[in-house]
Symmetry: C2
Subunit: 325 residues, 2 copies
């Protein structure tokens, strides 16, 4: 069985926080310098009681409004690090809210910036192995709820959002291969302490559970691992950089994407970026970028695209797809 992405929709919450807001709340920040590095001017912020699953439901409803039939979906993968509960899995609640059939397998996977590529590998394998017929990948994240107002590393980067992607059988093989990897030695460089079962005595639970990111460590990991993963994938797919029409990296920031672009000697027009107005929406960045690239005519039917996710874990994944709108 061969597979493809048949549709993508996304949802961003209406409230926008631009860099003027951040500067006014943090007069000690050199906002111009920060913006020059991040390339990000605004971010969308979920409402106080709005969760990642709420955003994901809205993204999925746009997919159904655009013609996707609910009845056919027998797999729902919800990628999130902001689940509604430790139990039950949010995906089960989403199955009910969306009115998906009961013969639908539904589960959350906990992954961040690499999550969409992993979910794509999972969903396409499930369809290829005929375990399921059609799979819906929902990526939803509300990292802003973990970020303190004065966190200069994270607040200028992360925004909230969700994307819905449909994986269906195809006449051609339009998804894969993948290069996937993990290095848990970097786990402590992007973490929310005391947010689960592990008790961190050095960070006593005090009600606040802020995210911590060592920006320099995560940057070094990215610059070390992402080019390796891109080249490993090209080798296993027996392709060259020239065979790829468009590169869609996880929209981490301008600093990250432009340094990878330079390192790999990619022409700028082959690297799609849309972080400026959206920020880093974690696992949702890649499907949102794909949808925007297609909407703007940058991405066309039958083009070969490389998707590269990387970050928290550390976890990374690259995959090749052939686009069909």
């Amino acid at each position: 069985m061969k597979v493809k992405i048949s549709a993508i929709e996304y949802y961003l919450p209406p409230r926008i926080e631009d860099n003027q807001v951040l500067a006014s709340e943090n007069p000690d920040w050199r906002m111009d310098d920060i913006t020059k590095k991040t390339g990000i001017f605004k971010r969308h912020i979920a409402a106080p009681e709005e969760t990642a699953s709420d955003l994901a439901v809205k993204a999925a409803e746009k997919l159904f409004a655009a013609g996707t039939r609910k009845y056919d979906i027998d797999c729902l993968i919800f990628v999130t690090q902001s689940p509604d509960y430790v139990l039950p899995t949010s995906a089960c609640m989403i199955q009910n809210r969306l009115g998906l059939p009961k013969r639908c397998m539904a589960f959350d996977i906990n992954l961040g910036c690499s999550g969409f590529v992993y979910a794509l590998a999972l969903a396409s394998s499930l369809v290829e192995a005929k375990t399921v017929g059609k799979a819906l990948i929902l990526c939803g994240e509300t990292y802003t709820k973990y970020i303190l107002k004065n966190d200069r590393t994270c607040r200028p980067l992360f925004g909230d959002g969700a994307a819905a992607t449909l994986i269906v059988p195809s006449e051609r093989d339009q998804i894969g291969p993948f290069d996937l990897g993990t290095d848990g030695s970097g786990a402590n460089n992007l973490i929310v302490k005391n947010s689960g079962a592990r008790i961190d005595r050095d960070h006593p639970p005090d009600g606040k559970k802020p995210i911590y990111m060592s920006g320099s460590d995560v940057f070094l990991f990215t610059m070390n691992m992402v080019p390796k993963s891109v080249n490993a994938l090209l080798k296993s797919a027996q392709k060259s950089l020239d065979d790829v029409d468009l590169f869609v990296f996880h929209q981490a920031s301008k600093l990250v994407v432009s340094n990878i672009t330079r390192h790999l000697k990619l022409p700028d027009h082959k690297v799609f970026c849309n972080f400026a107005e959206i920020g880093n929406t974690v696992s949702a960045t890649i499907p949102i970028a794909l949808k925007d690239a297609a909407s703007k005519g940058v991405l066309k039917n039958e083009q070969r695209v490389m998707l590269i996710g990387f970050g928290v874990g550390y976890s990374w994944g690259s995959g090749l797809i052939e686009w069909s709108s």
Copy 2:
């Protein structure tokens, strides 16, 4: 590519809580009546700072001690509803603790009592589609940390534990097919409120985050859905009940398993049970039961086994395997 389960090991924490302890702490409980219904006499309890990932690491280390080579594993699926953190995913930390190769995909999936069957469907699909070579499924759970001392519904049932299961290529097709399903309308009948991003105003966050189970609702769901799933799976596999050598149900309790057995008119000797001394270890019950059944000689090479998981979500899954030790 065809697949099989090649090895299972499990780990139970050494501390045991028997029914005398529960009775002495809850003099108002009719412990004899409870025991008659549950069939459970004792449960293993994780140490205060011991998490589900700690248990899972110990189960995996037993697998390696028994001969499984780490180097070959390029997929790690950690099934848990007690993750160490909301981020990063516990599986990345486990990859590092176990010394698994960096070319290993690693992620948590959030599922409870259906989790092993789902992970088996995922892992076998990933190997069948050649996305990965060998997959390690870790099921680890510490539900006892969510249970109040006086919770008469949950405390007599749930114990802590973890299992490690290796999925590898095979000459014969020894895993599948599956029948998988979801009904999120039952989500509120087994839940830990205020344990994630969703704010439940009727259960204000007060530090305590106890599990709530409507035993009668979950029982009704089980009695309605499990026989249907068993029959749906037999139909899609073109098999009859007589073609199945052993049924391994999720070890929910004696009441549940014996009622399903009676409803399906299964002979007792074809239904393996080991809840009496272990209790309900959520996603770990089925692999633990498989290992015990094989160790006791009840389960033999080339026998056909049906695995049936069901519970929190609601989520359920049935699958057929051919055993090879």
